[in-house]
Symmetry: C2
Subunit: 326 residues, 2 copies
Amino acid sequence: MSEKPTIKDVAKAAGVSEATVSRALSHSPRVKRATREKVQTVADQLDYRPNSLARGIRVKQTHTLGMIIPDILNDYFTQLTREIEDAAGRSGYDVLIMNTDESLAKEAHALNLMLEKQVDGVIIASAGGQTDYAKILGPTPAIFVDRMPPANIKTPYDRVIVDNVKATCHIVSQLLAQGATRVGIINSAVSFTATERLAGYQQALHDGGIALDSAIEVAARTDNSNVQQMTRQLLINQKCDGLFVGDNTIMEEVLRKLTELDLPNLQLGGFDDQLWFDFLPRPIVTARQPIKQLGQTVVDRLLAHLADPQLAPQEFRLDAQIITRQ
Amino acid sequence: MSEKPTIKDVAKAAGVSEATVSRALSHSPRVKRATREKVQTVADQLDYRPNSLARGIRVKQTHTLGMIIPDILNDYFTQLTREIEDAAGRSGYDVLIMNTDESLAKEAHALNLMLEKQVDGVIIASAGGQTDYAKILGPTPAIFVDRMPPANIKTPYDRVIVDNVKATCHIVSQLLAQGATRVGIINSAVSFTATERLAGYQQALHDGGIALDSAIEVAARTDNSNVQQMTRQLLINQKCDGLFVGDNTIMEEVLRKLTELDLPNLQLGGFDDQLWFDFLPRPIVTARQPIKQLGQTVVDRLLAHLADPQLAPQEFRLDAQIITRQ
DNA sequence: TAAAATTTGTAAACCGTTTTAAAAAAATGT
DNA sequence: ACATTTTTTTAAAACGGTTTACAAATTTTA
C-alpha cells in the first residue's frame, strides 16, 4: 500500500520474468494468450500502472504534446485548447496545458518545463516578445497558432491562423452598412493579431471611401482603466457612431463603460464571438473563428512533422465566420 | 542539432565526470566555484536541458501536481485553475491540467495519465460517478475541490469547498426580499454541489415562511433544450416571479430563453458570478466564490500532505460572497 | 524419429539522471 | 617534509521500465 508496485512485483506475483510482463501488457504478439491473461489479472489486482517516466526515457517518446496559451481566462483559448485536446486524443496523444498569463517569463518557464518533460512536440500561442523559439526548442517540433512569433524572427515552424485582415474588414464594412458613418477602433497594442486587425480596419474604411482619421485610429491598450477612458474618448469626444474592438478582453471593458454611456445608436463590432453576446441589450457584430478546424489542423500538422521532420513549414489561413445580430 | 545533448555530452565537453555536472547544475555546495562556472557555461553553450523523466525516476518526485477539472469551458473552473497554478508556482510546483468534459471515462484516463507521469499529488474536481478514488490513487496524495466524490464512498482525502447551503439560502432570501413571492429552482441533477444548493433553497423558503411546492422545486437537467423547456414551465405555467439557477452553464440556457419571454419583473439569482452579468439588461443576484482563497487552501493542504502523509483528512468550508445588483 | 522451424521465456544491456562510497587532491597542523 | 584532515572529484550502483540477443521449449517437416 505504501509503495507503488513496479513491473518487478507483477513479474514475481505472476511467476514470470519482467520482460514477459512488459510484452504481455503492451499487447506484443510474441506471448501466449494464457500467459497474457494471467499477467493482466495479476497487474489489475495489484493496481499496477507502468511508470511512464521510465518508459519515456527508454523509448525516447512520451506520446504527449505541450500546449502553451497566453490567457486561460480567455474563452477563445480555452475553446481552442479543448479542440486540440480532442483532436490529439483521437490520435492517441495527450496534451499538457500551460498558461502564461501573457508573461514572457512564464512562457519561458512553461517551454522549459515541457522540454524537460520530453514532450514530443509543442503548440504555441505566443505571448509576443523577441523569443528565439528555434534556439530554445532545438530539435523538438513545434507549431504556432493564433499568436505568431514576431515577424522579424525567422522560424522554421508551421503557422495556423485565421485571416484577421479579411474578417476585420468584413466586420467594419458591416458596421458601415448598418449605418455607422464614423468608426473607431480599440486594439491591443502589441500582439501579432492586433497588427493584422488594424490593417483590416483600414482596408474597410478605404473600401467604403472613408478617409482615415488618425485621431480615432490608433488606440493602444495598457490596462483596463485605459480602455474605458479610450471608449469615452472615441464615442463622446470624437463622436464615433461605430466601434470595432480588437479582442475579447478589451470588449469586456468597453461593454462596462457602455453601461454608463447612453448610446443606443452605436454600431458595435469585435473579434471573437461569445455565447453571451446573444443576451446583451445591444446587437454586436463579431467574427467567430472556426475553432474546431483550427485545432484539428494544428494537431494534424504537428503530428505530420513528428512523422517526417523534413516536412517544409507552411502557413494555414482559415476564414472566420461573421455573425451579425438583427 | 538533431540529437538532444545529455549530461554525458556536457561532462565530456567540460572535461569532468557526469556526477560533477549534476552537482554543479543543482547548485550543490560540494563543487569548486571554478568548476561550477565552467560547467555552467558549457551547458549553456550546448543548450543542455536536463531530462526530467530521468531525474524523476531517480529521485521519485517530479515537483508536479495534477489537476482534474470537469469543464474547461466553465469560467469558474478556469479561474480556479489559474489560482491553483499560481499558488503552486509560488511553492515551486508545476501543475498539469486535464479536462474531463464531465465524462467519467475521460476522468479515469486523466487520472491514469497523471499517475503514470508520477505527479506528486492530485487535485480533483470530480465528474461524479461511483469512482473508488482511493483504490486508483494508491499511495498518491489527493485533495478534492468544489466537486466532492459521492458521499457513500469513504475517502481519506481533504475537501475544500464553499458553503453552498448558506450561500444559496442567502440568494433565495434576497430574491424574496426583492419582492419575489414564488421562487422556482433549476438545478443540475447529479452533482454534489446541486444537492447542497437544493437544501439551501429549501431552507430559504422555510425561513421565509413559504410552503414548499413540489411542482416548482425539483428540476433535473439533462440537456440544453430541457433547460429552456423547464424555464418556460416554471415561469409561464407555474407563474413563478423568482428563479434560482443552480450553476453557470444552466444560467446561459435560462438567459437564452429569457430573451424570448417578456418578464421584466422576474427576480433572478444563480450560483457563480460572471463578469458579464454586469452588462445584462436585468440584474442577477449571484454567489461569488472566494476562488483565490480556495486555490491557496487547496495547494497549501496538498503540500502539507506531501510533507506529512499522516496528516488527518479535513474538510474546509469557505463562505461565498453574495452579489446583489441594483 | 531426427532435423528444422517456430514459438516462448530469460538474462543482460540500455535510457539519462542522482547518489553513495571511495579515491584523489588540496589544505592544514606538527 | 610528512601525517592528517578537509574538500573535490570520480566510478559505479541505483531508479523502473523496454528491447535485444540468445537459449529453451514446442511444433512442424522430412
